[in-house]
């Protein structure tokens, strides 16, 4: 659990030198909050997901406080002020490729989409889209862990979104 919290804090931008202390403090807060709100835990739920949810909310609360102090917008909006597509839209567009009935048409659509991505990203997206491989299957093919396969795929989709899809939208508008 603490290892995961450490990963969260690293993603949240905590300096690597302060990760140990921050992780310990966050863990203590999670424990405290969980004890305080243990009645909210529903039997049969995943304790791990519940505790991590508490941690995520604590981090969000802290970030909101910091943002408020700095009189800035929350980090998410700061980083992506002009998103053309949301994550859901990206996922839907890519997932929609799987429903193209004709194999040749599907191959053509995927190639057009992936042509300027790095080779590794292309392989990942093809395996996931054209061959319908889920995380575990991807992991077996690539000889990595299922989690690593998913993270790689998701980052490839993000690179795809940044490089290609907004331009595709602009092209459609121009036409």
């Amino acid at each position: 659990m603490q290892r995961t919290l450490r990963g969260y804090l690293y993603r949240a931008g905590v300096d690597t030198g302060a990760l140990d202390d921050a992780t310990a403090e966050l863990w203590q807060e999670v424990v405290r909050e969980a004890l305080r709100h243990e009645a909210r835990f529903v039997a049969g739920q995943s304790p791990r997901a519940w505790l991590l949810g508490i941690a995520a909310n604590l981090i969000r609360r802290q970030q909101t406080e910091i943002s408020r102090r700095q009189q800035r917008e929350p980090l998410a909006r700061d980083l992506y002020p002009n998103d053309a597509l949301s994550d859901d839209e990206v996922f839907e567009r890519v997932a929609a490729l799987t429903s193209i009935p004709d194999e040749l048409d599907q191959e053509e659509a995927v190639s057009a989409l992936l042509h300027d991505l790095p080779a590794g990203d292309q392989q990942l997206v093809r395996l996931a889209v054209l061959h319908g491989l889920d995380g575990r299957a991807l992991a077996r093919v690539l000889d990595i862990s299922p989690g690593a396969a998913r993270v790689r795929l998701h980052r490839a989709l993000e690179r795809l979104r940044r490089r290609h899809l907004p331009l595709v939208e602009e092209g459609k508008h121009e036409n």
């Binding site: 659990m1 290892r3 995961t4 450490r6 990963g7 969260y8 690293y10 993603r11 949240a12 931008g13 690597t16 030198g17 302060a18 990760l19 202390d21 921050a22 310990a24 403090e25 863990w27 203590q28 807060e29 004890l35 835990f41 529903v42 039997a43 049969g44 739920q45 995943s46 304790p47 791990r48 997901a49 519940w50 991590l52 949810g53 995520a56 909310n57 604590l58 981090i59 969000r60 802290q62 910091i66 700095q70 980090l75 998410a76 700061d78 980083l79 992506y80 994550d87 996922f91 054209l130 061959h131 319908g132 995380g135 862990s145 299922p146 989690g147 690593a148 998913r150 993270v151 980052r155």
Partner: protein, 399 residues
């Protein structure tokens, strides 16, 4: 898609993949609200929960690699974007309630304690079994945690202990083990502060705390399930402990094997020796019945005393010296139980027995020594009471 799958199964699979994607994206851009939202879904979806756990392992590994190679470049563009865009990263998560920021060691024991505590909570909430408790989990078994060693009561360990103050007057019952039968009860006023071990034990839905209570003439140590102790417990311990007069002797900790270095002062017996009236002819041991309430004063009628209730029949050592006037007679008293060491003056009229009965002294009885969690504990009265010459004493109201 080339694999033939039922439509609803495929739909669910895609939905989980979408959730996992949202989770990853949210984590990478710092959208903790979405992270929490997906985790809430995962709490009810075992497969999604497993997918997220696999993803978390990747990010945890990245964080560890980053820590090893710091201040190497960030492992992905997002982190560099943070600094490139001038966004100040969150340096650390502060805990406003703590007056002092500590470097919490969080030993493996403490982590195991917290995890065991949660297993206990979820076991109690889910008697019917849960797939998330891990292999071999026994829903009837509750996590028990013992302190890794009987602590040195004279030198509290700031890493393991914290200070807690009562919000309201409370009667705390102390047992020699978590879940045990209380053998002492102590009435504490609102605002009274004492030390508690950070690690707590969950048993049958109750949280047990190991506490150390120190007051003039009295020291208690044991387990209690009082809900008042589950709350905020602050550090540092050393700075917040009530000031106690310097002891007349040096106490040393007793290890789990029961062996100890005897105290240097000779006025108190070594921990492994027995106290009986035969050793001190000027004293008399009498057994008091369960429910006896003793108010032990460091001086006759003066200073703070805390009502101490004996939950079981307890032998108590009385001095033969009496102090006071015809109205109030005080007797020097020593109480030693497994959780209590108290010595001071007690108003004779408050005792349930008559001390002056001839031949009532019990010669074949010894006072118990401290024993918590099966280990001998050196309970030392921190303030040696004053033996006063006969004077006229006017009892003053306690604060």
């Amino acid at each position: 898609m080339r694999t033939e799958q039922p439509a609803d199964h495929e739909h669910e699979r895609l939905l989980r993949e979408r959730r996992a994607y949202q989770y990853t994206r949210a984590l990478e851009r710092g959208d903790w609200e979405t992270v929490a939202a997906v985790l809430a879904l995962a709490a009810d979806d075992r497969l999604l929960d497993e997918m997220i756990a696999e993803i978390n392992a990747v990010y945890a590994q990245e964080a560890e690699q980053a820590a090893l190679t710091a201040p190497a470049a960030c492992l992905n563009h997002h982190h560099s974007d943070l600094t490139a865009k001038g966004v100040n990263p969150m340096i650390a998560i502060a805990t406003p309630r703590q007056p002092v920021t500590l470097r919490l060691p969080y030993t493996l024991l403490a982590v195991a304690a917290a995890l065991t505590l949660f297993v206990g909570i979820f076991t109690a909430l889910n008697r019917g079994g849960s797939a998330y408790l891990g292999p071999g989990g026994d829903n009837d078994q509750v996590g028990l945690l013992q302190p890794d060693a009987t602590p040195d009561l004279r030198e509290p360990n700031a890493d393991r202990r914290c200070f807690i103050s009562l919000e309201a007057a409370t009667e705390i019952a102390l047992a020699t083990e978590a879940g045990g039968t209380p053998e002492t009860r102590l009435a504490l006023p609102a605002g009274f502060g004492f030390t508690r071990e950070r690690a707590q034990v969950m048993l049958d839905g109750a949280v047990w705390s190991l506490v150390i209570v120190q007051a003039p003439g009295m020291q208690l140590y044991g387990w209690t399930d009082d809900p008042a102790l589950v709350g905020d417990c602050v550090t540092p311990v050393a700075a917040l402990l009530p000031t106690v007069p310097a002891p007349l002797m040096t106490a040393t900790s007793v290890g789990m094997d029961g062996h100890a270095v005897p105290p240097t002062a000779t006025s108190l017996p070594a921990p492994d020796s027995e106290v009986s009236a035969g050793e001190t002819p000027a004293e008399c041991i009498r057994t008091l019945p369960a429910g006896t309430v003793l108010e032990v004063f460091s001086e006759p009628g003066l200073t703070l005393s805390l009502p101490l209730t004996l939950m079981d029949t307890t032998p108590v050592l009385f001095g033969t010296t009496r102090e006071g006037t015809a109205e109030l007679t005080w007797v020097h008293t020593t109480v030693r139980t497994a959780t209590t060491s108290a010595t001071g003056w007690v108003n004779v009229d408050t005792l349930p027995i008559t001390l002056e009965v001839a031949d009532a002294c019990e010669t074949d009885v010894v006072l118990r020594q401290g024993s918590v969690d099966g280990a001998s504990v050196l309970l030392v009265t921190l303030v040696e009471p004053t033996i006063l010459p006969p004077i006229t004493v006017t009892a003053t109201p306690m604060p």
